[in-house]
Symmetry: none
Subunit: 330 residues, 2 copies
């Protein structure tokens, strides 16, 4: 019988096969035509957990099912709850994929498919770790509860409702959330907070129809001109947000936090090179890591107005739409 | 044999049919996929002119062809040159059309299709007038040269080049330009000047791919934020254009011109009501007619960036594109 370490060390290809099988299920929670695939993904998880002797409960309600799997409970052990989700983001635009999103391919030792690193790969790491330990040592040192939901990408509505009514059934000593990030390749990180978001859609309407700029330009209000002025007015020249009161409740970074951030092996030039940019703009007086992790931000996420095709159209659009958002911190 | 007036008076429906046939050709000069339709429109004109005994020359070069058609030249007559264009603006956004742009429909006595009043309807008025006179009186009192180009909507590059090299071949006593407007329904106008245009497409690129605003927001340059700031910076709070030197060569309106404009029966409230707006913004110190006819203007004509679909996507777009233009005066 190999040890746990030997077993895991020699199972790389077998683990990849399991991941690839899981990734083939196009469990796109946002798209109603994938409702059947959501069920298939939940059933796939149920089978996995039942095969390792866990008790599986499928929580149903309005939305996609939650899979809850429990190891046989032993009272003398602490309980660890592992959270993950089996739903994935829509794969569009498809033309940007090197290989089809639900036909997983291994390239340079990495598996490429929609959901591979958000979140099927991570949750499966925990699942395969538990299975490997059971197969080599026959037992676990802790009670484990897996909660794998199907609506993380669309708001976790069913989970929120379930937790309101059944939180006690998930009582535990530790929670492990596997839906987070590494600091870099080979550099794991413990996420202790994430920025929130306030997202807006702003829709301006001018005249009841598009107008010719030669006949009307200067004599009517162009909603596209007004939109860019409104959006621009929300940022100061120093990169800070210009909305009155925006920073009132923002807790300043502690010197200690700034020192810890600064001590990380973050290579600004390598970061820019990876993004293929020469540099960055942002809030003055803060490093890039401080801006990304601890400062609020303002981003225009979408612009849609007038003529967007090839060549020129001298139109005064009658509508102008922006999507924009603020990332929020404590 | 009917007189010219009788013939024209009784041919309304037949003339409509010819217009509808012409309007069915989707001769969108800006879109390269319509190159074949541009040729079809030029060929349609060639057939029309040859059937009435005109000599047709198709001028070719880089761009869409110019159709030049000449009546049999008689030296004792003055020569009238009639200018028009067979190209049309892109019909997008298609969802705002009551009927398809290239499937002409008659509603309340008016023909609705892309190009019906810019410029296929107008140029055809002259063409059918000439044909009607030839069919009823057998001759014309003047020599006529039609110049119908295919690039009016995209800069008239081929025509400009042709005129540089062959202006003498178009020598004439009068020029009639049929690509103009009425002051209002039942109020014809003689156009003595039109504003020019300088049209730009501005394309900004940020990182090499779209980024997640939670992980990257604030730490990278968002091209959509920069775009709105650049576009907004080109207009002053008083509505004037903020580009340095922009007004250097603008000739001020004469008092006499301002008086003439003011004496026109222009009803500002009716104008706003027709456009379904409450009022207008524009350059301070000028009436709406002055702004429209005699002052330069700045309009954003198109915006395209990031996510434009339903709901929210917390994306930092990697490109942001604007089309904008300045209307220019002497």
């Amino acid at each position: 019988m190999p040890t746990f370490e030997e077993y895991v060390g020699s199972s790389h290809d077998r683990f990849d096969e399991v991941l690839i099988d899981f990734l083939k299920i196009p469990s796109v929670s946002a798209a109603s035509e994938h409702a059947g695939d959501m069920e298939a993904a939940a059933a796939w998880l149920q089978t996995f957990f039942e095969e390792i002797g866990f008790t599986v409960e499928i929580v149903r309600g309005e939305g996609h099912p939650i899979v809850i799997a429990r190891s046989p409970k032993k009272d003398d052990r602490p309980t660890v709850l592992v959270y993950g989700h089996y739903d994935v983001q829509p794969p569009e635009p498809l033309e940007l994929w090197t290989s089809p999103p639900f036909d997983p391919q291994v390239r340079d030792g990495a598996v490429y498919a929609r959901g591979a690193c958000d979140n099927k790969g991570q949750i499966l790491t925990h699942m395969l770790s538990v299975r490997s330990m059971l197969e080599t040592e026959g037992d676990l040192p802790v009670n484990v509860i897996f909660v794998v939901e199907g609506e993380e990408e669309i708001g976790s509505h069913l989970l929120e409702k379930y937790l309101d009514e059944h939180a006690g059934e998930l009582a535990c000593d530790y929670v492990v959330v596997s839906d987070s990030a590494q600091f870099g390749p080979g550099q794991p990180a413990i996420t202790c907070g994430l920025r929130g978001i306030a997202y807006f859609e702003l829709r301006l309407r001018g005249a009841k129809r598009d107008l010719h700029s030669g006949t009307f330009g200067g004599g009517v209000t162009n909603p596209a001109n007004v939109l860019v002025e409104m959006l621009a007015s929300m940022r100061n020249p120093d990169g800070s947000v210009a909305v009155p009161g925006f920073y009132d409740d923002v807790i300043p970074l502690l010197d200690e936090e700034r020192k810890q951030f600064a001590s990380l092996p973050f290579d600004e030039q390598a970061y820019f090179a990876e993004l293929d940019v020469n540099g960055a703009t942002g809030e003055e007086g803060y490093t890039i890591l401080e801006r990304r992790w601890a400062r609020p931000s303002y981003d225009v996420n979408g612009l849609d107005s007038g003529y967007q095709g090839e060549g020129a159209k001298t139109v005064i659009p009658n509508t102008a739409v922006a999507k924009f958002s603020f990332r929020l911190v404590p």
